[in-house]
Symmetry: D2
Subunit: 344 residues, 4 copies
């Protein structure tokens, strides 16, 4: 079976594995205070053009989200998100477990816009009973979104401007950031992202690392004492160097972008095949996730060779499914799927 189900099925990119093999028996200081982490931090700061950013390495997305959000919010504040945002839908109430309400906003194709943030925030402050409701303290967005869509530079800049005016922190979940930044329709650089939010994370788990995310704190006001919160929430790895080493390799000679670009190209080849056959797509995604709407007949044909993720059953019985490429996807796998799609 050929796996297009998700982008976290395999271990790590071979270059990272080599680094791990080489470093395995070396003693390293604990808790992320080692040279691998320091080197990775320096490379990430440079790639982001943020020489003063703080960089912390964590083990997964939910953990990173809850630690980042709990650190930024005051106790009476909540976090705004698209209604399909990962923190709203797929983290078992992790944010609420830290005491904060998630404030969902309706979002077409998973994208928030500055206007709706501004309106929701102004409506809050205009209300005479605002103290009886949760104060918005932060905006969370995913880049790319949960359905593979992307913010343009203008859209993100407008959201960030709006957040600064309204006293909201802006946090970007970059679980699949590499696949977004290497999309042909994307006009944001990593440095752009870093300059258009208060903090964000660069996903490693889905982009070539065994595990790990790199949280980048750009806003000085959020830097102090951040490591306490990491430890408090069980996110401080004894062997933090494992994640540091991975990011050091990923940000050496642009490996992160190289491997993500390849996966995105593969995904677009699949997309082209789907469009060629007139198969409708659930979301306008130009990243590593593709969401075709397939008939039971089409799925029956494909299921002998491929694994995908079911997403939603439509009222007419067709299924919206997700095909996902990753750094581990091969040309051969893509060729196979493309030709099978064209034969449908």
């Amino acid at each position: 079976m050929i796996n297009f189900q998700c982008d976290y099925a395999q271990g790590c990119h071979p270059q990272l594995l080599e680094r791990l093999i080489a470093a395995n028996m070396e003693p390293h200081p604990g808790y992320g205070l080692d040279d691998c982490c320091e080197s990775a931090r320096a490379r990430i700061r440079e790639a982001c053009r943020q020489p003063h950013a703080d960089v912390h390495f964590l083990t997964g997305g939910t953990q990173t989200n809850l630690i980042a959000i709990a650190a930024c919010l005051k106790s009476h504040q909540g976090v705004m998100t698209a209604d399909i945002g990962h923190i709203a839908c797929h983290e078992t109430g992790a944010i609420e477990a830290t005491g904060h309400k998630v404030l969902p906003l309706p979002a077409e194709d998973g994208l928030l816009c500055a206007r709706q943030i501004r309106e929701a925030c102004q409506a809050h402050y205009a209300s005479p009973t605002r103290e009886h409701t949760v104060q918005p303290g932060m905006v969370y967005l995913s880049l790319p979104t949960e359905c593979g869509t992307l913010y343009t530079r203008d859209q993100l800049a407008a959201i960030y401007r709006c957040c600064r005016e309204l006293g909201l922190m802006l946090y970007i979940d970059g679980a699949r950031l590499g696949y977004g930044l290497t999309s042909p329709v994307n006009d944001l650089t990593l440095a752009d992202v870093a300059s258009l939010c208060d903090l964000f994370y660069i996903g490693g788990t889905k982009c070539g690392a065994l595990l790990g995310e790199a949280l980048v704190i750009v806003n000085d006001a959020l830097k102090a004492d951040f490591r306490y919160g990491i430890k408090q929430h069980g996110g401080m790895l004894a062997k933090g160097w494992l994640v540091g080493l991975a990011f050091d390799a990923l940000f050496t000679q642009g490996l992160y972008f190289t491997i993500c670009r390849q996966a995105t190209e593969y995904a677009l080849a699949i997309r082209n095949a789907l469009e060629q056959k007139g198969i409708p797509l659930g979301y306008p995604s130009y990243t590593n996730q593709q969401f075709p709407i397939l008939t039971a007949h089409q799925l029956a044909i494909l299921q002998s060779k491929y694994v995908w993720e079911p997403w939603q059953t439509l009222p007419d019985g067709r299924q919206l499914v997700r095909f996902c490429t990753s750094w581990a996807t091969t040309q051969q796998q893509v060729d196979s799927l493309v030709s099978d799609i064209l034969r449908l």
Copy 2:
């Protein structure tokens, strides 16, 4: 420099690394629902002689502690621990962050006893204002303790009996369980431990794995819906198979015990040398952590070749320090330290 500072400085045991290399490019189902985890669970159940135990793989000790404790306690309950317990002293209030008070009890050499648990619990229930204080709901103990000491089978059985009588859950933190169970002064088997508590964890991070702990739930009442809490607290690895694979290797042909036994023997060789020289020891530890009390002069001699962990400065200026062996310690390193101690 020769590292005796901690037992989590290196990566993983070579056999685990080989398994990882072999499995790296294989696709695995996510979130711990894969064959590696299933196989590891089966091996652990067998090693524990608990065919019906639930086994969950987590990434670190603090995370495991907070998830296990939050899942067991009712909202008005707290957890009793030795005053030097890891949850009381070294986890940045992780338990309190889930809403529960840690209830420390004075403990000689880090060991709780059944009588003090009973007395504290009875004092709570005898008080007419008990509802104004936190109800004890659980006992947390470490095996070995934070200072390397061990509970005997009789002591642990008495504590567990006491807990059952008083309606308290008993949870054992086994971050260094392998080093405890292989101590020559230990009379507990892994199966004993499993039968004398409600849930416990087998430490991997400090005992040969890159990262990971195996939480074993013996008490049926605690099993339902446990994975929700893991996800909620950011402890569910996308690539859970990484930890499953490690434990599968560790519990194949007794590797876990083999490598821990070696480390414990090394530690006792160091202990013998210290005793031979009349160097006092801070705690009666017969596990992989040794706590000599050394003079400034002695430390000055040793510091050119060895790294250790400072623990406490005594009023007379001497230092209580920790020398720690691990699965990665070599005979040569131990021989070197032993002969340097004997030359002091």
Copy 3:
């Protein structure tokens, strides 16, 4: 100005004030363990026909809701509610602050129905990734709802049956219970309510008391140790007898129902006048809250004599407002408003 803004503007019913004056200098045991509370508990149990119910006196609705919900839910569970439910909209994230997600369901006229609860719950359990979402553990509903509507006996019975089948607790917020039970369209008795949920509260603050709510726990499984949670959340009044005394008076010779029935009748007189004039109503409320949709011109006329609560501005500029009667409303005030409405 004549006050129709809310039902908590005045102090307490004169009979309660007399009881307070008489008892003021008597010493009472603290924390709700006094004879006033015991007598009130007995009267409430009898009125509910629940001789074994536990009754606790608290100071306000938000406090009662957060204590009751936090006591019932497991840490990975959330509480379902109508989207306009008080806990979802007007309690500053009080439930989330205890770590639990509020799960809103769309609700016409503020009413939930058994079918949507069942479908939402079944969808949760049918999902292969259910552990990545919050498990429903409880249903919260308001009787009457936030917009004055009422559940019929059949509707409530269906919801409770559904909750029992699905393992959900059912909790009823009765902030205005008296005004609901005395509505001419209501077919529920207090004993019905008590037999059709696991726990509920009888509102005092809005129904004649200076302050206080009576939480009635019917389900045996929820009774143990409840007072710990009250103290933990700051809800245990040193002078608990103040609230006990109020409920003792309210449940003597049916005073609670007498004064609420009067207020409901006044509200319906206002409703009749509105309907007679063809003024549209925002919600089909037959309780003490009425929600006319008025033009700017109509409001301008009324505002010289009356105070009401603004609710919502409609796109056409008209306003949905709330007129609220209470135990303190007089015939004269109602007559005045009715004749001014008819003159509009």
Copy 4:
């Protein structure tokens, strides 16, 4: 039986009851936004000589403590307190339930000193593993303490200076503040207290009000958005004017001090009688709580006429008990007890 058990057995001072009777049927705006509260705030600001202080009215001590502390601390911080501090011992883990650890310090006679705060704080920051422990963010102290002792002006000034140097907030629990400030051994004025901390509360429940505490926020940095937290934790009374009215009366013509001074004098008369008879006292209290150590024989004589609070049974069988006067205590009651003590 004559009640010396506690200072919260009766309702409210007759002057407050008169005010309540007069205002009972008047409509007031809700949630503390009424004229009674505004007037009381003005009077309290003037009495504190803090024209810019924010004043909030809450219903009880535990509620006030948890709301104040949760609002001031960052999520990784804890609050230092004397080991017998109310938040450490008698609030069912209310602070921990908001996610924060209580950090107890040993305290002779319930009193903290600047030096121990400084040392504990410096030890935290000096530790290389400080991020693995809870950061002190605040000092909590009670004035008078739980055993009736008092800080001198110099002691409190030293603590506040120390807090400012170390970046700690200083919060004072004044549940019995009136009884402390009117003690003959006290050298602090209310204005002194207000100028020597960041926030504190003036107790009403134990000092003449039916219920209620007045939280005074002096530090500008803590003022913004405070009411959100009050609502979130269920502390915002619909009829906030009830507490405002009480404090308005208490701070009219110094009633608060007049009634507390009387009670303190009564307590000292009892103390004199105890000393005259050579009965030992458990604590050096010169406030409204007295802690004699009595023999079984003495208690047997007194128990036919008096009620007191048991505190502690000494190893020799004698009992440390508490006799408490209050605003409701009469000269006659005190005379009776004094003469019975002298007859022992």
